[in-house]
Symmetry: C3
Subunit: 486 residues, 3 copies
C-alpha cells in the first residue's frame, strides 16, 4: 500500500521501475557466465576430491577427521547463517521493506558467492600446474566473507536502489574486494582473520561512497516509510542475534587450526558481551526519559565483533577484548545519535541502516587495534613458535618482526579505505546512469515497487464507515458478510 495508492499512474510516470527485462537478463547472463567460468576454472581441491583417500595414505594422515572439513565446517555454517539470516533480517526493520531486505540480500549473496569463488580463487587458490582453482570448505567461507562486504554496503542504500543496481554493485564490489584482499593479505602480509579492514572497513566505505554519489535531496518524500513498526523491529532482532551469536565463528572461521580458532572465538565472545552493556548505557543516557532505542540495540551491540576482527587471532588477552568492546559500544551508539544526522545533513550521505556506526568506525578501530596488537607482540607472550605461527613469519616473511608487522597492518587499513572510497565513487557513478530502474524519491523504502505484496488485512487503513458501507479495500465483501446485521 505505497503512498500513491489509487494513483499508481502518477507514480509510474515519475520513474520507470519496471525491471521485467533488465532483471531476468542480468540474472540469466551472469549465471550462464558463472557456469562457463566454473567449467573452465573450478575443480575440487585435494580434500574434497575422491583422491583424498590416496592423498591421506600418501601423507600419513591417520584419520578422515583431519580433513579440513571438520576443522571449519561448523564455523562455515554459522557464517552462512550470518550472511543470509543475519544480514537479511537485520535489515527488515523498515515497516514496508522486509521483502526487499531479506529477498535482495538473498539474491545478491547468492550471486556474490559464485563470483567471489572465482575472483578469490584466481588470487589465492590457483593451482599453477593445471591453471585450475581448487576449492574446499575454506573457499566457501571466504566467498561468504567477500559477500559480507557487499551486504554491508547494501545497508547504506537499502530501499533506494533497484535489484539490478544491487547486482551491479555486487559485481564490482566483489571484484574490488578480491584485489584489495590480495594486496592486504598477500602483498603486505597483514593479518585480518575477522576482516575488520578487509571486510568491514572496505564494505562500509564502499557503500557510503556509493550512497554519497546517489544522494537524493528529496528523500523526505518517502519519510513516512523510513521507520519501523513494532513487529518489524522484532524481526530485525532475529538478524541482530544471529549475527551477535555467530560472530565468534565469523572471526575464527579461517583462523589457524587449534589455538588460533579457539582464541579468536573467545576474544570475540568477550568483546561482544562488553559492547552490549555500553550500548545500553549510552542509548538510555541520551534519551530524556532513559528509554532504550531499538535501533541501537539492533546495531551497536555488534560493533565489538567488528572491532575485534583483525586482532581476534592475536594474544589480545580477555580483558583487551572487553576494552575494545567497551569503547565500540559507546562510539557506535553515539554515532547513531550524533554522527548519522551530521553525515546526512552536512556530508550528504544517506545511510539507511547506519553502517557508518556499525561497520565503518568499528572497522577502522579494528584495523588500528590490530596494528597496535601486532606491534606489541613479544616472544615472551606468544612463545617463539607461537609468534611465528600466529603471524606466519615464514618463507619470504621469515625475517619480519612484530614492530614491522604493525606498520604493514596500518598500511593494510589504508589500502582498504582507498579501494572502498575510490571504488565506491566509481560504482556510484555507474549506478547513476538512468537505466537501472531505481525508484523515485516518493517510492523509496516500499516493497510495492519490486514485489507482489499481498493484500494485507493488517495494513489496510482502518477508515471504514459502518452506516454507508464505504470500505476502501478488497476485503469489503468479506467483512460485510461477517458484520451485516449487527
Amino acid at each position: 500500500m505505497g503512498n500513491c495508492m489509487g494513483n499508481r499512474d502518477v507514480c509510474d510516470r515519475l520513474k520507470n521501475t519496471n525491471v521485467r527485462w533488465r532483471l531476468p537478463a542480468v540474472c540469466f547472463v551472469w549465471q550462464l557466465s558463472m557456469i562457463i567460468l566454473f567449467g573452465v576454472f573450478v575443480r575440487y581441491n585435494e580434500e574434497s576430491d575422491t583422491h583424498w583417500v590416496d592423498y591421506r595414505k600418501g601423507n600419513n594422515i591417520t584419520s578422515d577427521i583431519e580433513n579440513d572439513f571438520y576443522f571449519r565446517y561448523p564455523s562455515f555454517q554459522d557464517v552462512h547463517v550470518m550472511i543470509f539470516v543475519g544480514f537479511g533480517f537485520l535489515m527488515t526493520f523498515l515497516k514496508r521493506y522486509s521483502f526487499g531486505a531479506v529477498g535482495f540480500n538473498f539474491l545478491i549473496a547468492a550471486f556474490g558467492i559464485q563470483w567471489a569463488l572465482l575472483m578469490q580463487g584466481w588470487f589465492h587458490s590457483l593451482d599453477y600446474t593445471d591453471g585450475k582453482i581448487k576449492i574446499g570448505v575454506e573457499n566457501l567461507i571466504n566467498a561468504d566473507f567477500c559477500v559480507a562486504g557487499c551486504l554491508i554496503a547494501y545497508g547504506a542504500v537499502l530501499g533506494k536502489v533497484s535489484p539490478v543496481q544491487l547486482l551491479v554493485m555486487t559485481l564490482f564490489g566483489i571484484t574490488l574486494f578480491a584485489v584489495e584482499e590480495y594486496i592486504i593479505l598477500n602483498v603486505l602480509h597483514a593479518k585480518d582473520a575477522g576482516g575488520s579492514m578487509v571486510i568491514h572497513t572496505f564494505g562500509a566505505y564502499y557503500g557510503l561512497s556509493i550512497s554519497w554519489v546517489l544522494y537524493r535531496p528529496n528523500l523526505d518524500k518517502s519519510k513516512h516509510l523510513n521507520g519501523s513498526v513494532y513487529h518489524s523491529d522484532v524481526f530485525a532482532m532475529i538478524g541482530t542475534l544471529f549475527l551477535w551469536m555467530f560472530w565468534p565463528s565469523f572471526n575464527s572461521a579461517i583462523a589457524d587450526h587449534g589455538d588460533g580458532q579457539h582464541r579468536a572465538a573467545i576474544n570475540t565472545y568477550l568483546a561482544l558481551a562488553s559492547t552490549v552493556l555500553t550500548t545500553v548505557a549510552i542509548s538510555s543516557l541520551f534519551e530524556k526519559t532513559g528509554k532504550l532505542d531499538m535501533v541501537h540495540i539492533q546495531n551497536s551491540t555488534l560493533a565489538g565483533g567488528v572491532a575485534v576482527g583483525t586482532a581476534a587471532e592475536f594474544m589480545l588477552s580477555p580483558y583487551g577484548s572487553l576494552i575494545v568492546g567497551f569503547f565500540c559500544g559507546i562510539i557506535s551508539t553515539m554515532g547513531y545519535i550524533h554522527f548519522s544526522p551530521f553525515l546526512e545533513e552536512k556530508l550528504k550521505i544517506q545511510d539507511t541502516c547506519g553502517i557508518h556506526n556499525l561497520h565503518a568506525m568499528p572497522g577502522v578501530i579494528g584495523g588500528i587495534v590490530g596494528a597496535i596488537a601486532a606491534t606489541a607482540a613479544t616472544n615472551t607472550v606468544y612463545g617463539d613458535l607461537g609468534l611465528e605461527n600466529t603471524f606466519d613469519f615464514t618463507g619470504p616473511f621469515a625475517k619480519r618482526v612484530p614492530t614491522i608487522q604493525g606498520g604493514y597492518q596500518a598500511a593494510g587499513l589504508c589500502v582498504a579505505l582507498c579501494f572502498a572510497i575510490g571504488g565506491g565513487i566509481f560504482v556510484g557513478l555507474v549506478l547513476k546512469l538512468p537505466i537501472w530502474g531505481d525508484p523515485a524519491d516518493e517510492n523509496c523504502f516500499d516493497d510495492e515497487i519490486y514485489w507482489e505484496v499481498p493484500e494485507d488485512e493488517e495494513s489496510v487503513p482502518p477508515i471504514v464507515a459502518y452506516n454507508n458501507h464505504m470500505i476502501p479495500n478488497k476485503h469489503a465483501d468479506m467483512r460485510e458478510t461477517n458484520f451485516v446485521e449487527q
Copy 2:
C-alpha cells in the same frame, strides 16, 4: 476469527472437528507403544555406549575425536533445524494457519522420528547377535530424513486435514519410507546421500497422491484464507533461509567421512546459489511489471538442493552443480506459474505449498542426474580407490561397474515413485474415512478449528463507529477508556 464468526453453530454443524478424544488417544497410545517397542528393541551402539572406552582401546582408535559423533553431530543439528524450523516456518505463509504450520509440523516430526528409529532400525541397524537395534548419531540423522518425507507430504495437504489425519499419514509414511529406502539403498545398492529419490520424490508424490484422493471440489469456500499477509510471508522466509543455508549439511550429513561429506557440501552450496538467480529471473519475467513473487522466492530457490541430492557425493564437479541448480530454478518457478493451476484444474490435485514444484520435479531430476553421473563415473576422474569408496563397490557388489550402477540408480527412482503413488492412494483412502475430524471446506486454512487463537487486536476487523459506540469486539471497553473525551 474464522469466517463463521458469530455463527459458530453453523460451522460446527458442517463437520465435527472436535478432536478432543481422538487426538489425545492417538498420542497416548502411540507414545506408549513407542516406549514398549524401544524397551524391547533399542539400545545404544558401540560409539554411544559406555563400552566405547573399551572398544576404542581394543580397536587402536587413538582419540575420542574419531567417534562418529564428531563427524556428524554438527550436520545433524543443521538437519534438525531444517526439519523443525525450516519445514515448520516455510509453511507459515498462510495468513491464518501459522499455528497449524509450525505446531502440527512439530507434532508429526516428534512422533515420526521415534517411529523412524524403529522402522529404519529393523532394516538397517539390527544387531543379529542379540536382536537389538543399536543407535548412534547416524540413526538420528536418518530418522530426521525419514520424517522429512512426511513433512514434504504435509505441504500438499496443509490446512485441509486434521492433526489426527496427519499422524496417520505420518505413521504410514514412515513405514513406506523405510521399506522403499531399504529396497533402493540395500537391495538395489543405489546411492542417494541427499535423498532426491528416497526423500523428495517419495515424499512429494506420497503427499500429492493423498491430496488427489482427498480432493475438495468446494475448497473455494476457504479461498479468502488461502493466501499470505505481509508478515506471514516474512515468517515463511525464516523457513526458506534455514532450509537453504543448511541444505549442504542435509546432503552431506550421511555421506562418507572425509572427502564425501566435503564434496557433498560444496556441490549443494553451488547448486543452491545458482537456483536463486534463475528463480528470480523467471519470477520477474512472467509478471507484467517485472515484480517478484514471494511464493517463488520462498520455494523455488530451494529446488537446486533437492535436485543435487543424489549426486551430491559424486564427482559432479562444481560447474555440474551450477548447471543442475540453473535448470531447477527455471523448472520449479515455471511450475508455480503454469503447472500448479493445471494440476489443480485438470488433475484435481490441490497442492497448498506447491510441493510438486519444490520437491517432486526436482526430486525426479535429482534421481536422473544421479543415474547419469553414476554411469559417467570413470577411474580417471575418481581414482581406483575413490571409485570403490564412493559407490561402495565392495562385498556382494564388488564387481559392479559405473554403467550398471547407473541402471540401478534409475531403478531406484522408479521404486520411489511406485511406493509413493501406491502408498499415497491407499493412505488417502484411509484418510477419507469420516472419523478423523477433518475441517469442512469452509474452514480450511483456519487455525480457529484446532487451536485456541488469541483475541488479536491486529486482526480485529476495523469496523468501529465513533459516535454510536458500536464496537464489535472484546477490547471495546479498553478502547473506550482510552479515547473517551477526545
Copy 3:
C-alpha cells in the same frame, strides 16, 4: 501505546520508571569492574594460548583436531543460540513486551556471561601456580549455562521489573549459582551434565521466590496486556523450537568426550520427542472442544529436555529417556492448566511464563531421575572402565559406589533448592527497595515504559470516523491524503 496514552502524566506520577541515570550507571560501573577483574584474573588456557603449539608437541598430541575446541565448539554455538534466541524469543509471546523479552534477555545474558566466567573461574578454573583463571571453550559453555539459570528466573518476573532490577537479579543469581554449583559438583561430586538441578531447579525456584516477594496484588490492572496476539505467538515458537532442537547440545555440551557426549545427545533427543506427544494429548484433552493451546506447545514440549538433564550422560537407555519425556509432558501441561492458577491465587506467586511448569517441576524430576539412575548403575551395564569414567570415580572419590553416588545426587538436589529459595527471598527483598524504577501495576507487560516504541500503524486503535475526520493518531495526515475524495 500504553494504557495511559494522552495521560502520561498520571502514569509518571504513579511510579517513577525513569531509569536514565540508574541504568547507564549500573552498566558502566559493572562493565568497568569486569574489565578490571578480567585484567587481574583471566587468561587463556593452554588450548587457546599460542603456547598450544609447544604443549601439543610436548604431550604427543598428534593433531590440532584434538584441541578441546573441536570437541565442544559446535555444541557451544548451539547453547549460545538457546541462550539468546531461545530464551529471548520464547518470552516474546506477550502482545506488547517483545522488545523487553528479547532486549533485556540480551542485556542480562551479556552481563551474566562475564560475571559467570569470573565466579565459575574462581571455583573451577583457577590455576594455583599463578592465581589466574584460565579459560577455554568449556568455560564459555559453563558461563552460558550459568546465565541460563538467571534467564529462567527472568521468566517468572517478565514484564514486572525494570532492567536495573534484572541486572541486580543477575548479579546475585550468578553468584549464588557458582557457589551452589561448586558444592553440588565438586564437594558432593554429584553429576549434572545437563543441569536439571544446578541450572533448572535453581533458576526456577530462584525466580519464583523473587516473584513471591515481589507479589503484586493489583496486577489485574495490566491484565489486558498479559496475553498474546497471533504473531507474538509465532515469534515465541522461534524460541521454543531453537530451545527444543538444540537441547541435545545443551545436555551434551560439557559431557565426557566420546560416548558421553554421544549418549547425552541421544537421550535428550528421545526425551524431547516423547514430551511433544503427551503435551499435545493433555492440551487437547483439557479443552472442551479439543483445541490446542499455544502456551502448552511453546513451553511444555521442552520439559523432557529439562528432566533428562542430570541423567543424560548416564546409561538411561533409549526407552528410559522416552519414559522421562512421557511423564514430563503430562506433568508440565497439567501444571499450566491446574497448578499455575493455584500458585497465583493461593501461594501468591505470579509466574508470567509458567517457569514452575517448564523448569521447576521437571528440574526436580530430573534430579530424582538422576539419583535413581546413579543408584541403579552396575558394572554389567556400564563396564568397569565405563562406570569409572561416567561417574568419575577417581582421585578422592575412587572408592565411591553407585548406591552412595545416588545419595549424593539427591543431596545435590536439596542444595539447589536451598540456595534457590533462600537466595531468591533475599534478592527479592533487595529488589523491593523503591529505588530500581520498576513499573506501576498499571504499566506491567508494556514496552512503552522502557523502550522507544515506534508509532505502529497496526496497533493504532481503529477508532476512526470518516465524516468528521477525527483521527486520533499521528498518521492522520497521511491517511487523509490517501483517502480524501473517495
